[in-house]
């Protein structure tokens, strides 16, 4: 417990420094934020246009699809805000700067990840949150304590999956040089998280559930709210599975870091 407090206080200090340094480029901060929000809004516009022409997708209505999309945006916010430094990992490893993280008396993964707090992810959070509220209102879902608590737990569980996928993708740079395309390819999968997994044939449903578990980013956890009469077992299992999956990704990342031998500079 004392250790946890120690890590939290360190995290706060590092993040404050990072935000200060980012605020010195204020126009970049504002433009990035607008860019992020614009990206999400264009997706919403795409949904809107699609549903002007079609009534539903596989039994999912417009507002249900909006809920899924909003849910996936919020669930992906921790990845964007807290774990964005993974994108730089391959440059650090390749150029030898990674060695600096190995000489600190704290957890390497923690120290590396805490160095970057990506503020533009907050824009994504607000758009996602707004979309959830709008869909919630339009679907006339009951606002009860149980529902809200379920939503928070479901969001927490959902956020772990994409973080874990990107951890593993980033860790590949410890074993391969020039692994950027692995991250880019894996990152593309998050775009498919906003669709109900039932639209896919069984083979891909299995892949998206167990191997690249993007179905847990929005589809399975949202069922708690959207289809409460008929919740599959996998939905209940998702927080446990999320934690296990995250732990595995952490272990792979740390294993890669332990293999790191520096570049000799």
């Amino acid at each position: 417990m004392k250790r946890l407090g120690f890590y939290i206080s360190i995290y706060r200090k590092i993040v404050i420094q990072d935000i200060k340094s980012k605020m010195s480029y204020r126009s970049d901060f504002i433009i990035s934020m607008i860019g992020m929000i614009l990206t999400d809004i264009s997706e919403l516009a795409a949904f809107y246009i699609m549903f002007l022409n079609f009534p539903s997708v596989c039994g999912w209505t417009y507002h249900e699809m909006l809920f899924l999309y909003g849910f996936s945006l919020v669930a992906l916010t921790p990845l964007q805000c807290l774990f964005d430094n993974n994108w730089q990992l391959r440059h650090y490893v390749y150029e030898g700067d990674f060695i600096k993280y190995c000489f600190r008396p704290i957890n390497v993964f923690f120290y590396y990840i805490s160095e970057d707090f990506d503020t533009k992810g907050l824009g994504q959070f607000f758009v996602g949150f707004g979309t959830i509220i709008y869909a919630w209102y339009k679907l006339k879902l009951p606002v009860t304590f149980v529902n809200i608590a379920a939503l928070i737990v479901a969001l927490f569980a959902a956020s772990l999956f994409m973080v874990a996928i990107m951890n593993i993708a980033a860790a590949s740079c410890f074993f391969l040089t020039n692994s950027g395309y692995i991250m880019v390819t894996m990152n593309k999968f998050r775009d498919y998280a906003k669709y109900p997994v039932t639209i896919f044939p069984i083979f891909f449903r299995i892949i998206f559930t167990f191997i690249i578990p993007i179905a847990f980013i929005a589809y399975f956890p949202s069922l708690v709210i959207l289809r409460p009469q008929n919740i599959p077992f996998l939905t209940w299992f998702s927080p446990v599975y999320g934690i296990i999956f995250f732990y595995i990704s952490y272990k792979i990342w740390m294993f890669g870091a332990s293999k790191y031998s520096g570049t000799g500079s």
Partner: protein, 268 residues
């Protein structure tokens, strides 16, 4: 003399691309996964309506359109804004400006080789896969020729817009934000995310006043609606693209000329 330096730059960029064969292969795999996702998504969407065509787009039309739009993205998108903003930030731009070739040409021909390679490595295989899956749905005739011309012009329009946006980076020193904004606006208004045929009437009319639809929508129309287009219509479409290329390159050149003097390099 000019042409010699153009060929040299193209050759260098082809060799540069060859260095990253594996990444091109992974790009192709990513494209195939996208194809599978899109196929199933739109199949589910079309299953929800009774009529087979919506706004003149059948399921096959929509799928071919979107898959080829994504394949076209992989060879058209040269990440020019990234490149320009990085060289502005690092100061490498000073070296580029000292080259005996005008900057715009240096960029264009320095990227063209990569575009050609990506076309061969990702677009052609995707095209063949689509043609097999849909059992020869894409008409193979004069429209393919028009497609190649339209795609080249579309690429030039995309390049000109990128060049303009990259020049803005001289003022803002923001890279990620500017780039992502450009990407979103271009992809959405060009009909690469949702086919323009599905847009509401007024919005479509507005979009047609912008050059973006000429990047994706025009070339792809030659593939999906190939046999229905008359020769005159085809020439008008290509002519409109050519006009946009001239206008946009001109604007880009003037804007660059005006902005050149604000370049500041710290150290370098």
């Amino acid at each position: 003399m000019r042409i010699k330096s153009w060929i040299a730059l193209t050759r260098v960029s082809i060799m540069d691309f060859m260095q990253f064969r594996l990444s091109a292969f992974v790009m192709l795999i990513g494209n195939i996964i996208y194809l599978i996702v899109i196929y199933n998504l739109w199949k589910a969407i079309y299953a929800s309506v009774d009529n087979a065509t919506i706004n003149g787009m059948s399921f096959n039309d929509t799928m071919i359109y979107l898959v080829l739009a994504s394949a076209q993205f992989t060879f058209m998108e040269a990440y020019l804004v990234w490149m320009m903003s990085r060289s502005i930030q690092s100061g490498k731009i000073v070296l580029d400006l000292l080259k005996p070739v005008p900057y715009l040409q240096y960029l264009l021909f320095g990227l063209e080789g990569g575009n050609i390679c990506a076309f061969v490595v990702t677009f052609i295989p995707t095209f063949i896969i689509v043609e097999i899956i849909t059992k020869g749905y894409i008409h193979l005739g004069i429209n393919i020729l028009f497609y190649l011309v339209a795609a080249t012009l579309g690429m030039l329009i995309n390049f000109a817009i990128d060049f303009f946006v990259g020049t803005i980076c001289l003022y803002t020193q923001s890279t990620w934000g500017i780039n992502i904004m450009k990407e979103v606006v271009v992809l959405f208004l060009s009909g690469a995310t949702v086919p323009l045929a599905f847009f509401p009437e007024t919005l479509r009319k507005i979009v047609m006043f912008f050059p973006f639809h000429a990047i994706y929508n025009t070339p792809l129309t030659f593939l999906t609606k190939g046999p229905e287009l008359s020769l005159a219509e085809s020439f008008i479409m290509v002519g409109e693209q050519a006009a946009w290329v001239i206008v946009l390159i001109l604007i880009g050149k003037i804007f660059w000329k005006l902005s050149e003097r604000v370049i500041t390099v710290n150290g370098g």
